[in-house]
């Protein structure tokens, strides 16, 4: 892999994360290398304690890696140390998050849950809401735009959380077990939406999952074991 020219999408080279020091040091990530192109959805699978969450937190600029290099959307964000001054702004503007549970803000309606991110980035309220409604339309939940999160079904909530992740048009989306609480039909619907969104917005998406239902849909899968990644070609089964 060429490490001199910044790549679009997600590029991880030689990423290492060690918790603690001395005799109590625990190596969570040893030598992680990944590349996710714009418009691509890749799976990241591995047993519990393999380092999935640590990798996601490093990519999400939540914890600092020990060594290596990370490039998101063509911008080097870590190269032995953080290369961006404001990690919170990086998360807000460059990375979309989809969680295992939707974690919508319960006191905001559906539209404002989605519009909050663009508003935080300084977009005027009206424009942020227009963008949110467009996304909700694309995800087929526009009819619940003024509902409170508690009034939505699990599938609707997850679609709203995907809309929220896309709201700032980030080049990268990190999805942590996004289909875990859903049945097969809804889980596959979520994967279909992620694929559509990846292609429409040329977003690079990493989906961390254990879900046997959706693993066959990925064209590429990264297995993580003992803090190391192994790339594998997936079935790439089409989602209908």
């Amino acid at each position: 892999m060429n490490s001199s020219a910044p790549e679009q999408g997600i590029l991880i080279e030689g990423l290492r994360k060690v918790y603690g020091s001395g005799d109590t040091a625990v190596t969570a990530l040893r030598d992680v290398n990944m590349h996710v192109r714009p418009g691509e959805v890749v799976g990241l699978v591995g047993p519990s304690g393999s380092g999935k969450s640590t990798l996601l937190k490093c990519l999400g600029a939540i914890i600092e890696p020990t060594a290596g290099r990370m490039t998101l959307g063509g911008r080097v964000i870590y190269d032995g140390r953080w290369a961006v001054p404001d990690l919170r702004a990086l998360r807000r503007d460059q990375i979309g998050f989809v969680f295992q549970a939707p974690y919508l803000i319960p006191f905001l309606d559906v539209t404002d849950n989605v519009a909050l991110l663009p508003m935080l980035s300084g977009l005027p309220n009206a424009q942020a809401r227009t963008r949110a409604l467009e996304l909700l339309q694309a995800l087929d939940v526009a009819h619940r735009a003024s509902a409170q999160p508690a009034q939505l079904s699990g599938g609707e909530q997850q679609r709203v959380s995907i809309a929220r992740a896309l709201a700032n048009r980030p080049p990268v989306i990190l999805a942590d077990e996004p289909t875990a609480p859903l049945d097969s039909e809804r889980a596959l619907a979520v994967v279909r939406i992620l694929n559509q969104m990846a292609q429409q917005a040329q977003t690079a998406i990493i989906v961390v999952t254990h879900d046997e239902k959706i693993i066959p849909t990925f064209k590429r899968i990264y297995h993580i074991r003992d803090g190391q990644t192994v790339e594998e070609v997936g079935e790439g089964r089409p989602v209908t």
Binding site: S53, L56, K57, G60, I62, I63, R88, A89, L90, R91, R92, D93, F97, F99, Q100, Y103, I105, P106, F107, L108, D112, A115, L116, L117, M119, L120, S121, N125, Q148, R164, D176
Partner: protein, 396 residues
Amino acid sequence: MISLAYRDLRHSWKRFVFTGVGLGLLIGVTLTMAGVYRGMVDDAQALLDNSGADLWVVQKDTQGPYAESSSLRDDLVHTVRGMPGVAAAANITYFTMQVRRGTQDTRAMVVGVDRQGPGGPTHLVAGRHIDRSHYEAVADIKTGFAQGDRVRIRRHEFTVVGLTRRAVSSGGDPMVFVPLKDAQEAQFLKDNEAILSDRRRLEANPVFNRPGQPGLLDAVKNLQTSSRNVNAVLVRAAPGFDHDAVAAELRRWKHVSVFTRAQMHDILVAKLIANSAKQIGMFLAILAVVSAAIVAFIIYTMTMGKLREIAVLKLIGTRDRTIAGMILQQALGLGLIGFVVGKLAATLWAPAFPKFVLLLTQDAVAGLVVTLGICVLASTLAIRVALKVDPGEAIG
């Protein structure tokens, strides 16, 4: 940018309103306590204003007539009237007792007034002033007496001929004004059995009952049954005279204690109600601490219930100041709801208090500032917790 605090408030408004009402009742008690103190000071001021006096002449080495007992001979007033700088002077008596009306009695301060000088009721809301020399009374409306009522003060019955307002003692008891002579009798005259007993004792005493001097026994008897004492002489100074100078002159020549209005105000406010003021001050301090603890606990609990949402907000890039602002605004919102409820409650229940409760706008403004200050302080703990939340908790 939308207000997260307002949205959260709107979303769980019932919890906010109920919490705010609870806090408001506490704030209402606090405002009322301040009102009780203000009422006591105002009662003292009303006592001074209603007396119409510039100087109080009382028994030497006492701080009478309100803070200590004072007794003067009633003929002193004549010489006081002749002193330079004195425009008017009048005897006055004060004593607190249960005044009976029918089968009920009311605690009141009975004031014996000389119609020729200061000390009487300044204004009437019904009826007329005392015209006759005996057995007429003017009562403060707070006694509950009505014009034409017959009230009993010791041995005699009085007709209420007029009603006045805000004529109260420093303790807040309403006043009943009666003619000076009647008040002197009521205050100083012994009951019939005691007089008869004293007479028998005098008649049996050979020092007073001398066969050669039959007038001596009668003279002593008259002295014992006379009621020629008053509690104070109220003085109105002539225009252009310095009150301190007139007081100094009176002290010099008459061997009495004389207080100016400022000195009497100091006695009433700084000394007479000093302990009550300290008591109320302690209550206010405790209530402020309790209110702060309650607000801190509520805001802390509310924040702890939102830790997951706060983690998500931080993860998606919400600034610390936005999260801190949300908690601070909620604390201030709670304080505002509490203050409005408290002010309303205090205004509604203040008239039901037996003593005067004076709710001043300046106290309300100070109360609002203190409430908001307490809310800001109380929210700091919750803000600290919120800012320490690890955004990674949203991922797991």
